[in-house]
């Protein structure tokens, strides 16, 4: 069972729309190394785990990842709320816009809808925990690329928060 908390894990307050940025942030929502996949990975792998400690950490991280999903969803929402037609056109955001307008849809940056093929559940402790570490590294790598383009410090800090929040929890 899950209980919702009506607050984010880390504050997100973006004043001005920036659909150009939303175009690549969206992959952290529903892309191959995004938070949806991270959450499903941990929450699905835990069933076949034989050790209480691992069941606990996968459950608690899997839930925290849902919190990260909400943070990313909030970023995309705030980057696209109140945007003008000119901003959509200038950002080249039309591809996303014709399908989802200013909705938040689980997809990779290149438009591929969320795909569970991006993670593995093997029912084996070593295979699954190794997969988790590889996935964590991939997420860090992807978010690092975004940091490099990102001129806004709030997002940098946010990304760092996510990166670090993931790394200590990594089994």
């Amino acid at each position: 069972m899950f209980v919702y908390e009506k607050k984010l894990q880390y504050p997100v307050r973006i004043k001005n729309p920036n659909p150009a940025m939303a175009k690549y942030i969206i992959t952290q929502y529903g892309g191959p190394d995004g938070e949806l996949g991270a959450s499903l990975r941990y929450l699905s792998q835990r069933y076949s785990m034989p050790y209480p400690e691992v069941k606990a950490i996968l459950t608690d991280i899997g839930v925290e990842e849902l919190g990260h999903l909400e943070m990313i969803g909030t970023i995309v929402h705030q980057l696209t709320r109140n945007m003008t037609v000119e901003q959509v056109e200038k950002a080249g955001f039309q591809d996303y816009f014709v399908d989802h307008t200013a909705g938040v849809y689980a997809q990779a940056a290149a438009g591929w809808p969320y795909d569970a093929a991006s993670f593995a559940v093997k029912g084996d402790v070593i295979a699954d925990l190794s997969e988790d570490m590889g996935a964590d590294a991939a997420t860090r790598k992807g978010q690092r690329e975004e940091i490099r383009w990102d001129k806004l410090t709030f997002l940098l800090y946010l990304k760092m928060a996510i990166l670090h929040a993931e790394s200590p929890g990594g089994p």
């Binding site: 880390y10 705030q78 928060a161 990594g170």
Partner: protein
């Protein structure tokens, strides 16, 4: 090809001095030292030992202090300690710390709910009417519906 260094055991190709590769991740040994809660939220980790600069970026915040971010900070410490305890359930010292931080978080939450509205749906029982749906929702911050 003959190589004098090659391992003779079962005529394998490994040099005699090479052990089999053993992948390893350094384990966190204890829950100390720890950042203060606001700093932990800004850095994204409670533990200085896990605060690894990434591409020369150092996360220092600052996170603006509001009742909301104070609750976020204390909840973050609880979460970090909980993850640590999941894999170190025998650490009584860390468990004691978690218990006291958890008590602080409960207090912070109570204050926040009185000031800003329910966090958990069950908090709505402290109000006179069903205020749960009221704006702002977490994603509304800074927008028209996000006035607080």
């Amino acid at each position: 090809m003959q190589n004098n260094d090659s391992c003779t055991y079962k005529e394998g190709p490994l040099p005699s001095c090479a052990p089999l590769a053993v992948p390893m991740v350094a384990a966190q040994m204890c829950a100390e030292p720890a950042y203060e809660s606001g700093e932990a939220l800004a850095k994204g980790t409670l533990f200085p030992g896990l605060d690894l600069p990434f591409m020369d970026y150092v996360a220092n915040g600052p996170v603006e202090k509001t009742p909301e971010t104070e609750l976020m900070a204390i909840d973050f410490v609880c979460q970090e300690l909980a993850l640590y305890l999941d894999t170190h359930p025998g650490d009584q010292e860390a468990f004691k710390t978690w218990k006291s931080v958890n008590a602080l978080a409960k207090e912070a939450r109570k204050r926040y709910v009185e000031m800003c509205g329910p966090v958990m749906r069950t908090d709505t029982a402290k109000f006179d009417s069903w205020v749960w749906p009221e704006d702002p929702w977490p994603w509304n911050a800074g927008g028209k519906a996000g006035k607080k």
